[in-house]
């Protein structure tokens, strides 16, 4: 086990480690360096007048952090939380944010050569926060750019009704 997530291989290509998780049948990955910890699903307090994908806030050892539901964010069908539901706690530009996903699956080594650009899905698809696609063995993993995903305006600025 190496402490660094980025390893140089003999061929010289860069390998990054990704934490992969599932949403429905799809598999996603986020850079492991952004992950602070993984928590079981605990009580979330809703916040009024925020976008639906912001589930609310939770207590992380005395700090109050917002929690984002990726299913809602990706306009997927909502699903009741169960014992596999986890909250991945990530750090994005000094802010600590919880992300609800169905389940975490693995830590993958992904070489830069394995990453393909996101195919053009047409104008209607919002792919800004997709960093690329990686094929690892049989699986296709969608690599998320968590910075772009969670630092959007609605997370940081007040869109006041006033």
């Amino acid at each position: 086990m190496t402490t660094a997530a980025t390893l140089g291989t003999e061929t010289g290509t860069q390998v990054n480690q990704y934490l992969t998780f599932t949403l429905g049948s799809e598999e996603y990955g986020i850079e492991i360096l952004k992950v602070q910890e993984i928590k079981g699903y605990t009580g979330i307090t809703p916040i009024p007048n925020t976008p639906p994908y912001i589930r609310g806030v939770m207590n992380l050892r005395g700090t109050v952090i917002p929690v984002v539901d990726l299913r809602v964010k990706f306009s997927m069908e909502e699903q009741a939380y169960d014992k596999f539901t986890v909250i991945i706690v990530v750090t994005v530009r000094d802010k600590v944010i919880g992300v609800v996903v169905d389940a975490v699956s693995d830590v993958l080594d992904v070489a830069a050569s394995q990453i393909r650009e996101t195919p053009d899905l047409g104008a209607r698809a919002d792919v800004r926060f997709i960093g690329g696609m990686a094929t690892v063995g049989e699986k296709l993993v969608v690599l998320l750019d968590i910075e772009k995903l969670l630092s959007a305006e609605e997370m940081s600025s007040l869109t006041s009704a006033a």
Partner: protein, 645 residues
């Protein structure tokens, strides 16, 4: 009024020491040519603060000395006097004298010698052609050794010339103190190739010497041929400052706690540990009959925990009254000095703020009061002529509002002269001649550094430092400051401070499955309404009649979008809250109780949310939102506005 000022003497000395340290650091920068207008401003503000505070505490010699200091600084700041290194050096020495004065005042000892002379120097130094008089400077320059960095690489054939580099090093040793000597072996060949008659070595040394670089160079006169000799002063810093540099101590993040308080905390933790081990003991030998004892042990632990929490919080929180209480004396003295009749009214002294915030409020409030007395309040005759009571009033008022603590300092004097401020702003180049500016914008000009409209510079105020210090200090605490004024009716400065660190007395209430907290200060009462009290106004919202007065009824579940079964107001509870003198009835499911909660910021990881001050952690570990009455009122108005359209 019975008033003991001695309690705040320690604070004064601590603050003065901090100011002196800041002045020193900035002066050092200035002396090295690194300072800018901002450093001058900073130094000036420090001197001004010490002057003001020492006057309050009756340390007249300190006030007098800092006045001299300040006058010179003012000239430098305004650009009338050139801030030369020599002047900076003089000021540095003056800071040392000031420190001695402070030490003498603290111990009650005799004032140090040479104060008068120093003060006189400061006055003389205002002359444009001033130069530090020769003997003093010569003495200063000679008395202190300067650091040099010397590199000496003798010519390889130095031995052939009959010279010995060691002799040179000895000579250097006599010229000063060698602090570091490093031999450069980089040219040394392997032993087999070494020629014993060739010098392969070089030396790097750091020397502290009183001699000049030229004198030191002379040491190398006989070995210079073919050698590399570098003699450089280590820094450009003049001699004077070098020996007396003290690292400025800024303990802005620390708080002073009496040992007594800490001891009490230690005791409490001890008690808690004992109570816990007792509970553990009961559990170890648990039988049905020990249940009662277990309950007792738990309630004991709970009691200790609560007390511990209160005391830990108490370490940080301080009523604002502790800073207010220095002002009666100040106002009294100012009244005497100006011949004005003044009454000081204070309210909200019990408002608690973080200790650090309370302490930092001292200086800005002092400035505001000085300004109010000096510029705001009119002399008795003028007041009489204007039909006002002869006695002018200064009011200090602290209160909670929304998630903030507001401190207002107001007077009933002549108010601000917008035309005069405008003229001054144009003069200073802050505003173009024909540039339109609202009254608000013009008032805001007062917060610019060095902006003063006083015709006469007095020792009370009128140098225009007050307001920019106020602004800086308040903004440093993440607060905001604003000023409002009505001609002939007075001026009011409003300082708004965030409550981020504060604890809040809250009322826990339930809406649906959610628990919310309302600040207790905003709550008037809670009632269960009868159907007869409820009315709706033609689809424009609901009202509840309380003692004949119709109040808007706000359904929290609707406002916060929380599902609940209690939609019938007669089955829920109405919490009556007040905001800006306007009342509002909030419909909730039920009240859960009263509790002190620690406010956690939502903004640090998320953002500001309308109608919410922050969050807190409940006993069961869940996060709960603390509601902001002002924000809720606004949201309710907006919601109705939508219906209106």
């Amino acid at each position: 009024m019975e008033f003991d000022i001695s309690r705040f003497r320690d604070t004064f000395f601590q603050e003065a020491e901090e100011h002196a340290a800041t002045m020193e650091a900035e002066l050092l920068r200035l002396e090295q040519g690194g300072g800018d207008a901002e450093s001058l401003n900073a130094i000036f503000r420090c001197a001004h603060s010490i002057k003001g505070a020492s006057g309050t505490f009756g340390f007249d010699d300190i006030a007098k000395f800092t006045h001299a200091l300040e006058t010179l600084l003012e000239g430098m700041r305004a650009g009338r006097i050139e801030p030369t290194a020599a002047r900076a050096a003089l000021l540095l020495r003056s800071v040392d004298v000031l420190r001695e004065l402070l030490a003498a005042a603290r111990t009650g000892g005799p004032p140090p010698a040479g104060v008068e002379e120093s003060a006189a120097q400061l006055v003389v130094a205002q002359r444009a052609d001033w130069a530090p008089n020769a003997p003093a400077v010569a003495r200063v320059d000679d008395s202190a050794a300067r650091p040099y960095r010397i590199r000496f690489v003798p010519a390889p054939e130095i031995f052939l010339q009959g010279m010995d580099p060691v002799l040179v090093l000895r000579e250097l040793e006599r010229a000063g103190e060698v602090q570091e000597l490093r031999v450069d072996l980089s040219r040394l060949p392997p032993l087999a190739q070494l020629d014993p008659e060739i010098c392969y070595l070089g030396w790097d040394l750091r020397l502290r010497s009183e001699k000049s670089a030229e004198d030191l160079r002379d040491v190398f006169a006989f070995v210079e041929d073919g050698a590399r000799v570098e003699v450089e002063p280590e820094t450009a810093r003049p001699a004077l400052s070098a020996p007396s540099v003290r690292a400025p101590v800024r303990d802005s993040t620390s708080i002073r706690v009496t040992t007594e308080k800490v001891d009490k905390l230690v005791d409490l933790v001890g008690e808690l540990v004992i109570a816990q081990s007792m509970a553990a003991e009961i559990l170890n030998n648990f039988t049905a009959s020990s249940l009662l004892r277990l309950q007792e042990a738990f309630s004991e632990m709970e009691r200790y925990t609560r007390e511990l929490q209160e005391r830990v919080m108490g370490v940080r929180m301080l009523p604002i009254g502790s800073v207010f209480s220095r002002f009666p004396r100040l106002v009294h003295d100012l009244a005497e000095a100006t011949g004005k009749r003044i009454v000081l009214e204070m309210s909200g002294e019990e408002t608690e703020l973080d200790k650090a915030v309370v302490e930092s409020l001292g200086d800005p409030l002092t400035h505001l009061i000085r300004n109010a007395v000096d510029h705001g309040l009119e002399p008795p005759e003028e007041r009489r002529a204007a039909g006002k009571p002869e006695q002018g009033a200064i009011r200090l008022h602290a209160f909670h509002q929304g998630g903030n603590v507001i401190v207002e300092a107001s007077d009933d004097g002549r108010g601000l002269d917008a035309a005069k401020i405008r003229r001054k702003a144009v003069e200073r180049g802050l505003l173009a001649e024909d540039q339109p500016a609202s009254e608000e914008q013009i008032h805001a000009m007062l917060f610019e550094p060095g902006f003063s409209t006083a015709e006469q510079v007095s020792s009370i105020s009128g140098r225009g430092v007050g307001m920019d210090v106020v602004k800086r200090t308040v903004e440093g605490m993440n607060g905001a400051v604003s000023i409002s004024s009505a001609p002939g009716r007075g001026t009011s400065v409003r300082i708004k401070l965030p409550l981020t660190l504060a604890i809040l007395d809250g009322l826990l209430l339930r809406v649906g499955e959610q628990t919310y907290i309302l600040p207790l200060v905003a709550i008037l009462e809670s009632v269960r309404p009868t159907a007869a009290q409820l009315n709706s106004m033609a689809g424009q919202g609901e009202v509840v009649i309380m003692r004949g007065e119709p109040l808007p009824l706000v359904r929290l579940h609707r406002l916060l979008n929380v599902p609940t079964e209690v939609t019938d107001a007669t089955r829920g509870l109405l919490v009556l809250v007040e905001n800006h003198g306007r009342r509002l009835a909030l419909l909730v499911d039920e009240l859960l109780g009263q509790q002190q909660v620690v406010i956690k910021s939502l903004e640090s990881n998320f953002r500001k949310v309308e109608g919410v001050v922050g969050a807190t952690i409940l006993g069961d570990g869940r996060a709960a939102l603390i509601l902001d009455v002002a924000g809720l009122a606004q949201m309710a108005r907006n919601a109705r506005g939508v219906i209106d359209r």
